[in-house]
């Protein structure tokens, strides 16, 4: 027989594996990555360009005098730098991302492919309109879908994010109030609202008056009625609200608001729960922004870009900002300036340069076309089903602030189930990281103590939810069993342990500075 043994063991040795320090600080696949400014060099470039020949510049006296101080990397170095950095991120592609109110659902790759078609990605916003008829058609088609889903009259596509859409909707309301020759300085905002609502109202010079929530977490029409007056311009209501509940008296609230001569702004952050189930136009809403990056799944990209088109009722349609798409006999037309306005069009101004987020429009439209009317409705139903399934799996161990009742697309718990354990909502969330999960939204909405807001989205399978529920149950039982250290020291298995935010804020270090010379450092 032929012997070819080199004596290499083929099953692991049984030596105890206590944690060890490594020379590099790396931990296997978890590699430490220096800052670009520590590895880059000023004379290295990853882009080959021919040095231009001699020519007579026409810069006048405006030539740059000092170097920029921009280190460069060759392509292999750059690829490695950014790939290693990417590996320090949690992402929806790698796991359940239950951030309530943020809607981290699957991002279909077809949408990325569509956004990169040369006829979409490589067209300029100001090239002749005769060369971009397909782009205008795409905007019109997106608008048609949004209006059919919401039952509204007009759409302003251009806002660049949810908060920007809020600004747009509230600017339309302010313009409408002024057009009636009125001054209404107050905006009503429920206490459970996203912070952007009061910030937006204040930015426009409105005074914010909070609306208290009733014991069941929803807004009481009587409470609204009491606050309404000829001084009130609008109410900003989120529906479904940030507690994950549908405002069941929304129609009555809308009626009261309209009777008082005010407008109803709906924060559409949670529209994904009701697409195909209810039309906000029929609920009495006058303006609502739609986060394309939430409901229609354009990727969040580590914090943007988003897109926040605003749908408007007949009361506000005339005030939609420039540019907008007008349907004409020959087809859709992009109206860019006041010189092109028709009778009855009184835009309040312009939100952005150019025409808004085409790259997001096309992704959202691809998402809508893929789902269709039936798929959109199914997605809403599955999102609500999943949230309630999580609720059902946890309701005996976790505490629901508004009682055991069905929720919409997200389920809210408070921290009373942790009373006496010494474990806080923050500790609990950080322990989830060690279990391989991104934490849920914490401490929001503000109306609930130690809030934990879980939005699983429709992208999660039953098996995925079963493991998630089992994990949270296990953690809750460990908290109650007094395993406090597990929580206080968490996370242990992340690229970083808890970070010192106090230090970051007390002595802000917001950009890289070269290290002090050795003599100084030694002092």
């Amino acid at each position: 027989m032929t012997m070819n043994s080199v004596g290499r063991p083929t099953a692991p040795e049984t030596a105890a594996a206590a944690p060890i320090g490594t020379f590099t600080g790396n931990r296997g696949l978890a590699v430490e990555e220096p800052l670009l400014f520590e590895i880059g060099r000023h004379d290295v470039t990853g882009v080959d360009l021919d040095e231009p020949g001699r020519f007579a510049p026409r810069l006048g006296a405006h030539m740059r005098r000092a170097p920029i101080d921009l280190p460069g990397l060759s392509e292999p170095e750059a690829v490695r730098h950014y790939v290693r950095l990417s590996q320090k991120n949690y992402a929806i592609d790698s796991g359940l991302y239950p951030l309530g109110s943020c809607t981290m659902k699957h991002n279909p790759r077809l949408n990325e492919k569509m956004a990169r078609l040369p006829g979409i990605a490589d067209i300029h916003p100001l090239q002749p309109l005769s060369t971009v008829s397909g782009a205008v058609e795409l905007m019109a088609e997106l608008g048609r879908w949004l209006l059919e889903m919401t039952g509204m009259r007009a759409v302003a596509l251009s806002p660049k994010a949810g908060a920007h859409g809020e600004l747009c909707g509230m600017m339309a309301i302010k313009a409408a109030v002024e057009a009636r020759g009125e001054a209404r300085p107050i905006v009503l905002v429920p206490e459970s609202a996203h912070g952007t609502n009061p910030a937006t109202a204040a930015l426009l010079g409105f005074r914010v008056v909070p609306v208290p929530a009733r014991a069941d977490g929803t807004v009481d029409p009587e409470a609204v009625r009491k606050l309404l007056s000829p001084q009130v311009a609008a109410i900003m209501l989120t529906n479904p609200n940030t507690c994950g509940l549908f405002e069941r008296d929304v129609v009555e609230i809308a009626r009261a608001v309209h009777e008082a001569g005010a407008y109803f702004y709906c924060d559409g952050a949670n529209f994904n729960a009701i697409v195909g189930k209810a039309k906000v136009g029929e609920l009495g809403v006058d303006a609502m922004h739609i986060n394309l990056h939430k409901t229609f799944s354009t990727p969040h990209g580590g914090g943007g870009p988003g897109a926040g088109p605003v749908v408007l009722s007949h009361r506000l349609a005339a005030f939609a900002p420039l540019p907008f798409v007008r349907m004409e006999a020959e087809g859709p037309r992009l109206v860019e300036s006041e010189a092109e306005l028709a009778e009855g069009e009184t835009p309040f101004g312009r939100m952005v340069a150019f025409h808004g987020q085409m790259g997001m429009y096309v992704r959202a439209l691809a998402y809508m076309l893929s789902h269709g009317a039936d798929g959109l409705k199914q997605a809403s139903e599955d999102a609500v089903l999943n949230a309630n399934y999580v609720r059902a799996g946890l309701r005996d161990l976790f505490s629901q602030p508004f009682g055991d009742r069905p929720c919409m697309h997200e389920v809210l718990f408070d921290d009373s189930f942790l009373d006496g354990t010494g474990v806080t909502t923050l500790d609990f969330a950080k322990a989830m990281i060690d279990e391989g999960y991104h934490p849920m939204t914490m401490y929001f909405p503000l109306v609930v103590h130690g809030a934990m807001l879980i939005e699983p989205t429709e992208s999660e399978s039953k098996a995925s939810l079963d493991l998630f529920v089992a994990t949270l149950r296990d953690l809750a039982m460990r908290a109650r069993a007094g395993e406090t250290d597990r929580f206080k020291a968490a996370p242990r298995y992340a690229p970083r342990r808890r970070l010192d935010e106090t230090r970051a804020a007390r002595t802000p270090k917001l950009k890289w500075e070269p290290p002090a010379p050795f003599e100084q450092a030694a002092e």
Binding site: E501, T502, A504, A505, R506
Partner: protein, 123 residues
Amino acid sequence: MSKRYTKDHEWIEIAGDEAVFGISHYAQEQLGDVVFVELPEVGKTLEKGGEAAVVESVKAASEVYAPVSGTVTAVNEALVDNPGKVNEAPEGEGWFAKIALSDPSELDGLMDEAAYKAFVETL
């Protein structure tokens, strides 16, 4: 006279014809690590209950209200570089500002130390 307190957790102490004020030990505990303090300008007129300063922790920003009316005569510049003093010695080195009182009778409406202590226990 000894320290007086407001229900919004400011303290004030008379020293000569000036008064010095800041936030209470309880308040700094609730805020957590203070990272920034925005102080009023010297010479500014404050109204009792009006905004006098802003104190920020990592997660919250809170207004500090004037315990009584008056004109600001000095501010604690040391807090600009070392806001942590508000945590270390809230009712001492972590003072916010000094004011010349415009209506000393306003002090009568404030709590003394024992009353404030009792008040905090109800929270």
